[in-house]
Subunit: 454 residues, 2 copies
């Protein structure tokens, strides 16, 4: 896809330079909003604003939604008030809210001034919901039907009001108190007899969430129940909005990026990598590096401590990197597997014993294999004295067992205690496992080798 | 959600023991298919089959789709031929194919025997598509309309055939040669005048994929273009099926799990963790551990090699774990950030120089901070001789720079060469960075300390 865009980029730049504006409008009209936004972003500084004006109104608005915030800001600053109002009128409510959340204060002021009163009211309401809640990602535009309406009433109502709604594929049946009574799909209404009432057509076991629900849970429900849209209600079960599947997918991607960042000991950011400043990247990485570096010095202290009683031969020192790396790798395999299972909802705290039993057996199998391979290598290839080889391989087995145990336990405990289990991935597990395996190494060496090796 | 299910579990088990079958049917009828499947899975061995028979036919089929393969197999084995046919008739084509792919050969034979001839033909066709292609995840059931049909013709056609289609929200306009001409939503048809033709109502710039397209690309298009459904065409642009958003979400989750597994050096599996046998887990982990253990011995060889010219003081040895861990952590921060940006399509090979320039500056800032913090600690707290502290801190700075450079470069190169960049995460980066930083450490120690320390 990026190859297609770069060819288009050349074409459009050329058309722009040749001032072939009508051709440009026709070319842009063939494109998907996301592609158009991508294209405008790579054109010369002065091109996007006039090109944007050439685009059909609806496509222009949809393209606007797909742009990066800095591009949106530049465009808004170039808009006249009438132009701004034109774009705002085409936006769905949730997109308008996203926009307001991203823009600096003076731009927000202009946007709220140009939005029609109803939109202004809705934006202000939506902005009140906590970040990352269902309320903050929902749109307030849905089709509400009454229980006594017949299928033909409903179709008339949808024809009259449906144009401005984000979806009409699922409509909601609302009582006089605005309470959510049921859902009915456009398909059902179309298939029904003209005089069937909504009350008789609707399904009543509708899954809904409250405005306060965490967006990650919301996204998870879309995947679990194969939803296209999910109604949002307030504490009194009054219907206030809907979350659509495209917004749920955005949340899923955001949450995965967040998890993966945490797994690599990075403070998550929701900005694309290339748009993130060097200083922001530095700030998101350095605290963890400092913390982990300090913890790693404990491992060094263990070496210093045992030096008094135990003089390390070079064969023992040379084994330290292998022991540390293998322990770390074993630990992250277990922790990452468990973290992913937790975030897919496949695993819960109550499964802890089952996880232990599984991981202990896997650890034993892995540990024995690795220790055996290593023993053969040490004896046959490196011709290390058997006692030293034994020390190294026993340590390896113990390190693997401990690493897998710690690796599978910490994420589950973190989850139970309300922390994000993703933090308990490679870096932390590695640091803990390193210290533990070095401790075992020195103890074993002390027991098996004291006095025997210089 | 799992708390709700465990209460329901108790209720349903009790009702089952008390033989209150009518109540049970009513309770199950209130539930979502995914919840019902979850519930049946935790009940006593002999309960699911009879309970399944109590459920309303359509809910039963939907619940069946949500079950784990081993549960499905058990149920199928308990079904009479008529019962099996009843369930199969209710399945959408893509779900039927999933089922056939999961079942052992003798069960598949029974399924194909009971499926109606049209379904059997479709299943066989779909099974031909390569695994992980658009063809393998699509369903062949979509609403096809003709260009000359009027809105009222179209509604009649949808009413007649739409009941069995996975979605009617988007219909496709197909020429006489079965070529995809355009798409028209049910909403547009409902909003239109009775005599508007499909040709005039349809949008013609429809995004489609071929049957051979990789499922990861398909899933990525849903997210990029905010799609609910995506038409699949053959090489001659003849329409053969659709992929719906719920299947795209499943693919997204599967691909993320795969990426995360690879990042932790595990061969990916598409089975849930608790359902995976110990031996399968062992097999997916041990080759990587062995490979990485062998590579880590190079690091040990570096120590052995330099021992000849350089006798390590305990202060130097004690610094090895800290140097290795910090280098590894810095490298995985960069690699994981870049891997995620690649998989979201934010980053391409052409951005390599820009990534380098960014990472080099971040690395310099992180390296200087870490080295300074460490220098202060070594001098003030551990009272290490200044030359040794300098050696350690210069190595640290160099290791951070190298780690970030290697960490951001390897995933991009792997992607360019057609490998999965996710493999270039923590474990491999750590192994490479360990060896490089130890090499630098020994070189610096040789240059700065020769003869000075015993």
């Amino acid at each position: 896809m990026s190859q297609v865009s770069s060819t288009l980029e050349t074409t459009v730049t050329k058309l722009w330079e040749d001032k072939k504006y009508n051709t440009l409008r026709d070319v842009l009209s063939t494109m998907q909003p996301a592609s158009a936004a991508e294209l405008l972003a790579v054109l010369p500084e002065n091109a996007p604003a006039p090109l944007f004006r050439l685009m059909p109104k609806e496509l222009a608005a949809e393209t606007f939604v797909e742009m990066e915030p800095d591009m949106q800001e530049k465009l808004i600053r170039s808009f006249s008030d009438t132009e701004l109002k034109g774009v705002l009128d085409e936006l769905y409510m949730d997109d308008a809210v996203d926009l307001v959340e991203e823009m600096p204060a003076n731009v927000v002021k202009r946007i709220l001034a140009q939005a029609d009163p109803e939109m202004r009211k809705s934006i202000n309401e939506l902005l009140q919901y906590p970040e990352d809640s269902a309320g903050s990602i929902m749109t307030t535009e849905f089709v509400a039907l009454r229980p006594h309406m017949t299928a033909s009433d409903a179709l008339t109502s949808i024809r009259r009001t449906g144009m401005d709604k984000e979806t009409v594929n699922t409509c909601y049946v609302i009582g006089t108190d605005r309470k959510l009574m049921g859902a009915v799909t456009l398909r059902t209404i179309v298939m029904a007899q003209d005089d069937d009432t909504m009350e008789s057509l609707m399904t009543t076991n509708v899954i809904s969430v409250t405005t306060q629900e965490d967006q990650e849970t919301v996204a998870h429900m879309f995947s679990l129940y194969d939803l296209n849209v999910l109604p949002v209600v307030d504490k009194e079960n009054r219907m206030v909005g809907i979350v659509t599947v495209d917004d749920a997918i955005d949340v899923m991607e955001e949450e995965v990026t967040e998890d993966i960042s945490k797994m690599a000991a990075i403070t998550p950011s929701d900005k694309p990598y290339l748009k993130t400043s060097v200083f922001t990247l530095y700030k998101s990485r350095i605290p963890w590096l400092l913390l982990l570096m300090l913890s790693a010095t404990f491992t060094g202290m263990i070496i210093t401590h045992f030096e008094a009683t135990l003089s390390f031969s070079i064969a023992l020192t040379a084994a330290i990197p292998m022991l540390m790396d293998t322990g770390g790798n074993c630990g992250s395999q277990s922790s990452v597997t468990v973290i992913r299972a937790l975030s897919l909802g496949e695993l819960h705290f109550t499964d802890l014993v089952q996880v232990w039993w599984k991981e202990v057996r896997v650890a034993l199998m892995c540990g024995v294999t690795l220790a055996a391979a290593n023993f053969i290598k040490l004896i046959l290839i490196e011709r290390v004295p058997p006692l030293i080889a034994l020390t190294i391989c026993l340590t390896l087995l113990a390190a693997v067992m401990i690493a897998k145990f710690v690796g599978c336990t910490l994420p589950i405990l973190a989850d139970k205690l309300g922390f994000d289990p993703a933090v308990m991935a490679s870096p932390f597990i590695t640091t803990i496992v390193d210290a533990l395996s070095l401790l075992i190494f020195c103890t074993f060496a002390g027991m098996l080798l004291t006095g025997a090796v210089a």
